[in-house]
């Protein structure tokens, strides 16, 4: 099995996380060959591949072409991390409130991104998504097991709140903090709320989340429409306009 891992506009954190498998990489190497991974290898095998992992979102024409090329060369394409699954933090550049702020501050034109950041599935078919910023290593290992055993890999169909409840974490929303847990896809085992930090929604929208009641709660807590808009639009534009 030939595996490749590539990077588009991103912080490289997901590839770093990939290497954070530590010794488990040696296990992976028993079933797969890493044919291309420029962050770790000088030799780049031009493919075709069986699995291509992609972090980041394309923000140049050249990157869009690269992405399409990788898609054409691989059987399975995996979007790795929130830039690839949602567009990533760089999507904030498109926020209108931001544009006004820039104008006020610099009194000049807004920087232009020739290709606005979009998730990979805006351009190509994506077989699997590993959510999170960065993605969860446990989900990567689960995905690899599923691929090897020819089983279907399921995205988590529950919210971060459910995981907080299971871990008996004190609710941060109840403490007045702007937690996105009720509307965010679970699978991270509520790692941030469990340490007192609000969920900021890096795993994207939980499809059955009660958005209107969540927004009502945030308003009750005194957050303005502008603030709520920003909380909802951090890792990729999604839930509300």
């Amino acid at each position: 099995m030939k595996v490749a891992a590539f990077s588009l506009s991103s912080c490289s954190g997901c590839l770093v996380e990939f290497l954070n498998m530590e010794e488990k990489i040696l296990e992976v190497l028993k079933i797969a060959e890493i044919s291309a991974m420029p962050i770790a290898r000088s030799i780049i095998d031009e493919g075709p591949y069986d699995i291509v992992f992609v972090e980041g979102s394309p923000t140049t024409e050249e990157q869009v072409r690269e992405l399409i090329e990788w898609r054409n060369k691989t059987k399975i394409l995996v979007a790795m991390g929130s830039c690839a699954t949602l567009g990533g933090v760089q999507t904030m550049i498109e926020d209108t409130t931001f544009k006004e702020a820039i104008k006020r501050q610099y009194g000049g034109d807004i920087p232009v991104i020739s290709v606005p950041p979009r998730p990979l599935d805006h351009y190509v078919e994506v077989d699997y998504k590993l959510h999170g910023c960065p993605f969860e290593l446990s989900e990567l290992l689960e995905l690899l097991k599923c691929i090897v055993n020819n089983k279907k890999f399921e995205e988590k169909e529950y919210d971060v709140c459910s995981e907080c409840i299971l871990r008996e974490v004190n609710c941060l929303l109840e403490r007045g903090l702007p937690c996105m847990g009720p509307v965010t896809r679970g699978g991270c085992n509520a790692r941030c709320p469990a340490m007192g930090a609000v969920c900021t929604g890096c795993r994207g929208e939980y499809p059955h989340g009660n958005v209107s009641s969540h927004i009502r709660k945030l308003k009750e807590l005194g957050y303005s429409d502008d603030e709520i808009h920003k909380f909802y639009n951090k890792y990729g534009r999604r839930m509300i306009k």
């Binding site: 991103s10 954070n20 530590e22 010794e23 000088s42 933090v89 960065p134 790692r191």
Partner: protein
């Protein structure tokens, strides 16, 4: 013309072209990272979101970006907390060692054993690589205890950690750090036995200094053998300019290229290195290839310092209790200079009310840019009669010595004034 379209085993996307004509050499180190405009993204966000967003500039220096952002916001609020800073240092030590181990073993070391990667080196050097995995695994785990995540820590906000840190957690930190201390020492040994080519650049070394330690989180900025200044005056000493055809900002001190990183840190603060670590780095060096060695020596030094710091907290039973803080700003300015694993990092914000109004971020790789190019030039001139493969191999090796972080350096926002 020698082209390296994608420099491998570095963070991010960079390319190098070398032109050799009638004995003259021209080197161009370029960046083709897609734009992400972090400085612009941060404008209009809340003060408490700044570390969370800023740390996403880079997946390798993520912890120090978060810490630097938090400190800059705190400076704007005139907030200081000595115990918080001590605890932050513990997390900085583990993430600093993590970054060095990743760079030394996975990115740089294959060059010195003539392999294309750790993977192909594994059959021959399995023992060394397993040790590297062990060190990285343990320091990552320690970062995660404090940060909730090893990459992009969630608990680092201005004014506090969002969680308590208990004596039990400190004891675990000490136990695990002690477990890898012999390996950190071996790392210093291993990289002190490598024979490095001698490459020098007519430039200056810059690092933090505090007359006590080899500081990573607080201090004045100092030019090796020269001036010392406060981080708030950075704009008077570090001149940034764009040299066409490249679009990346480069930094100069009195017209000279600046080097930042482990080597400048140890040169400037040599006398404050732990004696056990000093053995492997006996005197200051101008050879940029010694940056690899300096990183390895730092692994051991900061391992020792981390244990000592945590043990002192345990002895005094000083737990960290998280308390909610709230800041309000009135066009307040905050500047912080810290040491990322790859060198001086500066975050500068102006906040008003509870929002960010202005940002300027200077990253180590942006500072190093001109220095890197000149070092490659100097190496290529030495090798001018060698074959293309040798020149390519050696040029990439020079770039890797700086441990460049290209995502970091490509964040720069260019705004055209009306």
């Amino acid at each position: 013309m020698i082209e390296i379209p994608l420099i491998t085993r570095v963070e991010g996307h960079g390319h190098l072209s070398i032109k050799i004509e009638d004995g003259s050499v021209d080197v161009n180190f370029g960046i083709h990272e897609g734009p992400r405009y972090f400085e612009a993204i941060l404008v209009g966000r809340k003060w408490y979101e700044v570390p969370e967003i800023a740390c996403r500039i880079c997946g390798i220096c993520t912890v120090i970006h978060a810490m630097c952002a938090a400190q800059a916001v705190e400076n704007a609020a005139n907030f200081q907390d000595e115990l918080l800073e001590t605890y932050r240092n513990l997390m900085i030590y583990s993430s600093h060692i993590q970054s060095h181990v990743l760079h030394l073993y996975f990115l740089a070391w294959p060059d010195f054993v003539r392999k294309d990667s750790v993977i192909s080196a594994y059959p021959e050097y399995g023992g060394i690589i397993k040790k590297a995995f062990k060190m990285k695994g343990i320091v990552n785990e320690l970062t995660e205890i404090f940060g909730a995540r090893k990459t992009h820590p969630a608990t680092v906000v201005p004014g506090r950690f969002t969680k308590d840190i208990t004596i039990r957690e400190l004891e675990y930190y000490v136990k695990k750090m002690k477990e890898i201390l012999p390996l950190l020492k071996e790392t210093a040994e291993l990289f002190s036995q490598i024979e490095y080519p001698d490459i020098r650049v007519d430039g200056v070394h810059l690092a933090l200094t505090d007359d006590r330690t080899v500081p990573l989180y607080h201090g004045d900025l100092k030019i090796f053998g020269g001036e010392r200044f406060s981080p708030v005056d950075y704009k008077n000493y570090i001149q940034e300019k764009v040299v066409p055809p490249n679009t990346t900002k480069r930094s100069y001190y009195n017209g000279k290229p600046i080097m930042v990183g482990a080597l400048p840190r140890l040169n400037i603060n040599h006398r404050y290195l732990r004696e056990e670590a000093k053995e492997f780095f006996s005197s200051p060096s101008e050879n940029i290839m010694h940056n690899n060695l300096a990183q390895a020596v730092e692994c051991y030094h900061y391992g020792l310092v981390a244990i000592e710091t945590a043990e002192e907290l345990i002895a005094k039973r000083r737990e960290y209790i998280s308390r909610k803080v709230d800041f309000k700003f009135r066009n307040s300015e905050g500047i912080a200079a810290v040491e990322a694993p790859r060198g001086v990092l500066i975050h500068h914000y102006i906040l008003n009310g509870d929002e960010v109004k202005y940002t300027n971020i200077i990253t180590p790789t942006a500072i190093n840019f001109e220095h890197i190019e000149r070092a490659v030039y100097s190496r290529v001139v030495d090798l001018i009669n060698q074959d293309e493969e040798t020149i390519k191999f050696e040029a990439e090796k020079v770039i890797r010595a700086y441990d460049p972080c290209i995502s970091c350096s490509a964040h720069v926002v260019k705004i055209t004034k009306n």
